[in-house]
C-alpha cells in the first residue's frame, strides 16, 4: 500500500515538473507546478510529517503559486511565448544534467543504504514541532519574521507606481 502510494505520488510529482519543462504556456507551467507541489505534500505525509504536508499544500501550492499566477496574469504577453533555445543548447544541457544526476547519485550512494525505512515511531507531531520552534529555534524564528516584514515592504516599494508630479 505504502509503496503504491509512493510510486503514484512520485510519478505525479516528476510528471508535473516535466509538464513545467515541456509546456510553452506559462500559466500551464504554473498549474503543472501546483500539481507537483501538491503531490510533494503527499510525499511529506508519507514521511511522517503531516504538519509540513499541510503547510506545503496551503502555502506552496496555495499562496505562492497563486502569486505566480497573478503575476503571469499581469504580464500579458502580446507576442506569445518565444521558441525554445537552439537545439545544441538543449542537447548540451541534457548531457550535463545526466552527468549531474550521476554525480549526485555517486555522492550519496554510500549513505543511501543506511537510511532505514519509514514507519516506526512518529516524529512529525505538530505539538513537538511547535515546542522546538519556540525553544531551540526561537532566534531563527524571530529573525524570519523580520525577514518577512522586510520582503513585504520591499515588494510593495518596488512595485508601487511613481506618483506623477
Amino acid at each position: 500500500m505504502g509503496i503504491f502510494l509512493f510510486s503514484l505520488l512520485a510519478i505525479l510529482c516528476v510528471g508535473g515538473v516535466l509538464g513545467l519543462i515541456l509546456s510553452r504556456n506559462q500559466a500551464h507551467s504554473a498549474l503543472f507546478l501546483v500539481l507537483a507541489f501538491a503531490s510533494l505534500g503527499g510525499l511529506f505525509g508519507l514521511l511522517d510529517a503531516p504538519f509540513i504536508a499541510a503547510v506545503q499544500i496551503i502555502i506552496y501550492a496555495g499562496a505562492i503559486m497563486v502569486l505566480f499566477i497573478f503575476v503571469i496574469m499581469m504580464i500579458n504577453l502580446e507576442q506569445g511565448i518565444a521558441p525554445e533555445r537552439k537545439r545544441w543548447t538543449l542537447g548540451l544541457s541534457a548531457v550535463l544534467a545526466v552527468f549531474l544526476l550521476i554525480e549526485l547519485g555517486l555522492a550519496v550512494r554510500g549513505t543511501l543504504g543506511a537510511l532505514g525505512r519509514t514507519g516506526g515511531e512518529s516524529i512529525g507531531d505538530p505539538k513537538e514541532l511547535g515546542r522546538l520552534l519556540f525553544t531551540d529555534y526561537l532566534y531563527p524564528f524571530e529573525i524570519t519574521s523580520v525577514l518577512i516584514i522586510a520582503a513585504l515592504v520591499g515588494a510593495i516599494v518596488l512595485v508601487k507606481k511613481k506618483e506623477k508630479e
Binding site: 509540513i52 505566480f68 525554445e84 525505512r117
Partner: protein
C-alpha cells in the same frame, strides 16, 4: 514500509529536473518556478533525512525554507514585474545591460 532512500533518490531527480528547467527555459517567470522546484527538492531531502535520523529538527528547517521561499517569491516577482514595465519583455536574453 518504504525505504527512505527512495525519497532521497526522488529528491535528487527533482533537483536535476529543476536545473534542466532553469537552463532550457527562456522567460524569467518559468526560470523562477524552476528555482522553486529545486528548493522543494531540498525540502524533500531534509524531511527524508529527518525521518532517517528520527529527529524533528529537519522538519523545523523545512519551515524556515518555506518561509524564506515565500519572501523570495514576493521580492523576485516584484523585480520581474519591474523589469517587465521597463523593458516590455521577460525574456532572459533581453537582460543584458551588464554585457560588454
Amino acid at each position: 514500509m518504504i525505504p527512505v532512500s527512495y525519497f532521497f533518490g526522488l529528491s535528487i531527480v527533482l533537483f536535476v529536473l529543476g536545473i534542466i528547467a532553469f537552463f532550457i527555459k527562456r522567460d524569467l517567470i518559468t526560470m523562477f518556478m524552476a528555482i522553486e522546484v529545486m528548493l522543494n527538492a531540498a525540502n524533500l531531502a531534509f524531511i527524508a533525512l529527518a525521518k532517517a535520523a528520527g529527529s524533528p529538527a529537519g522538519q523545523v528547517i523545512v519551515f524556515f525554507i518555506i518561509t524564506v521561499a515565500a519572501a523570495e517569491a514576493a521580492v523576485g516577482l516584484a523585480i520581474i514585474l519591474l523589469v517587465f514595465r521597463q523593458k516590455k519583455s521577460i525574456k532572459a536574453e533581453d537582460m543584458r545591460l551588464l554585457k560588454g
